[in-house]
Subunit: 394 residues, 2 copies
């Protein structure tokens, strides 16, 4: 089949707050071909990703993403890999390309799954999909007392692993950070895995991170996530050498397979966390998962948005039972909570499992899309180069 | 002073061709503060960079660039560094941020230079500006014969160093590539430095690159540029180990100091080539130059556009006489050739020198801007969030 159309739907809650909650907006991607529909989602900054879809060409290595996607042939997984490489080469000098491609790549896998009537993980070559143990992913409280309360709540919800991140952590003094970690551990008790996400707060300054290690070690934190920006390989490696038994985790900002590989090869991370909505989709995420497996590094999804994104993020490592943890958003916005009809619920034993339905197994609810849809119009040189489609313009 | 306004001007020649000529469009940035004006330029995809300037916030680490720039205080070089870090933190999850910041950072240095009545290189701490030896930077011909003719032309223009890149190189067979390199060397004669730019054509496949080395070695090519995408550190290092005495060069795609540092630390490049219009401006480019100097790696500008961009790209290593080569565009579009009143001409001895005028020493010609200016309008949710300014809207 030919890829006949690609449409973007920019959803946003009415009031976006200045907090680390990435579910306040969403950019859905709908791809049509051969009478079927595939859905995907791009992480972050919907307008900029739309612009990189439709922008005028600057030169041969700076073309809009649409030039490499529309009209392409899609029959096999290899076609998706080919389109992925084509988008990369034609968008070499356009920094946003990977984010835009991500939602398209996801939608192409979904579309191919609809055609083949197979879940995406099978198209990726996986023979089985194993249950994952979700960790509750949430922001730190504003105070240690609030963090404690959130930890108690996660216990009440039967989570066996909990991550706190962002908020005040790393921005104040070392004692306050330690108090948050202690509060989290006290709230969780002894048996629940605890992880901490620093949200790149120390940029590349190892000396700011080191004094935080003692509390993380004392309270048996499994990993410290994103102490630094993703490219700061040397800083990651230096901190990892001092942090044991706490592992360093990172990779959510990866915009290419190489970003993740370099964190493994030169950054000494113990956990590599990939957001299929940023790295270029399921295609490079699967490549990272296989690379991590071969190098005895744990692969984990990064997901803080919808269950469409969650399904996409779980496909690349569905068949790796020893990589058993998965990120599971618990504080998502109304968009993220209500977008799909049949989300990935936790089972009675607390685990989650990918649906056995074709593709991603997730169909967005038209009512939710229409409720939160923002109209976007872009005009360049007198031409309308982008106008938000309607949902039923088939 | 406060940063009062930042305006973008998207220029484009009437017909943009599908070739590797990056001068077919341009995104100029005008910053105003304290009654003075500073100019900068972003490399590639003007619309997408405009969108990342003005897009709605997604969350606390995905804000439009404008939120971190407008109203900021600017008195010293440290203020520019502070703004640079702020943009980075607030734009962590917005991939286009570095490209947008680039033109703004350049314009802030120019503005500060206008206020202090000093060239930018002095604000960077350089005591002197040394002449550079420009290499003619151009595309390969479509045939070896055409490459030979271009080489002859460069000789006639008294260049002592010439680079050929892109076009057919690396896309056909090894013999054809070798014929192009031989033609270039024959056209140049024995005494002129010859460099080859592969434009990332082999992505990360070392086996495709290795068979090309023999011709590069035989014809005494100084460096092979961008055999792979910038993140493919391992591939760079593997090829460098086999290429001697040909050096591996790269770095033009760097979008952060760390991208360049990693190529030096783990990619074994001999030359690090930085485009101030992509890496985030003059601030991170200066940091790379100092890092390269300390690690005995040659720093070179990457510039394929206007003389405003050329001036910005030369400032970070003006005081490093041993880093004497500079890229000098010789096939630029009418926009790039005519944009500034007083471009950086080659002196009688063939060298080029930064102007001693304040800032970048480059004032765009209003007539050229108006001749090539494209109107851009962006509407989101019924609001006009961007509308191209007029040049004289002060």
């Amino acid at each position: 089949m030919k890829i006949e159309s690609v449409d973007f739907f920019y959803l946003r809650i009415p009031v976006v707050r200045d907090v680390g909650d990435g579910s306040q907006d969403a950019l859905l991607v709908r791809v049509r071909g051969g009478g079927k529909i595939g859905w995907g989602e791009c992480e972050a900054s919907p307008l900029v990703s739309i612009a990189s879809w439709c922008c005028p060409m600057s030169h041969s290595a700076c073309k809009p993403v649409k030039d490499s996607v529309l009209g392409q042939n899609l029959e096999t997984p290899q076609d998706i890999e080919r389109i992925n490489r084509l988008v990369g080469a034609n968008g070499l000098d356009l920094a946003q390309t990977a984010h835009t491609l991500s939602g398209i790549d996801i939608a192409l896998w979904d579309l191919l799954g609809q055609h083949r009537e197979e879940p995406v993980y099978r198209l990726l070559g996986a023979k089985a999909s194993h249950a994952k143990r979700p960790y509750a992913s949430q922001l730190f409280g504003d105070t240690p007392e609030a963090t404690y309360e959130k930890a108690r709540q996660s216990v009440a919800q039967n989570y066996t692993a909990v991550k706190f991140g962002w908020g005040p952590y790393g921005r104040g003094d070392v004692a306050t950070d330690a108090a948050h970690v202690r509060a989290a551990r006290e709230g969780l008790g002894h048996d629940i895995d605890l992880m901490v996400d620093a949200g790149t707060v120390w940029e590349d300054d190892v000396e700011l991170a080191i004094p935080r290690l003692a509390a993380l070690q004392e309270h048996r934190v499994l990993w410290l996530e994103e102490p630094f920006v993703g490219g700061a390989l040397q800083a990651h490696a230096e901190l990892a050498a001092k942090a044991s038994p706490v592992a360093i985790a990172g990779g959510e900002g990866a915009r290419h397979f190489d970003d993740a590989r370099n964190l493994i090869d030169h950054g000494s991370v113990g956990y590599i966390q990939i957001d299929t909505g940023r790295i270029g989709g399921i295609t490079p995420a699967r490549r990272v998962a296989k690379y991590a497996e071969a190098h005895h590094i744990r692969f984990i999804n990064h997901t803080f948005t919808t269950h469409l994104a969650l399904s996409a993020s779980l496909q690349p490592f569905a068949d790796m039972p020893e990589h058993d943890l998965c990120e599971y958003p618990v504080e998502a916005s109304d968009i993220a909570q209500r977008l799909v009809h049949d989300p990935i619920h936790r089972a009675a034993d607390g685990t989650v499992q990918l649906p056995e339905r074709p593709g991603l197994g997730m169909v967005p609810d038209a009512q939710v899309i229409n409720q939160y849809l923002l109209d976007v119009q872009i005009h360049v040189g007198g031409d309308t180069i982008y106008s938000t489609p309607t949902l039923d313009d088939a």
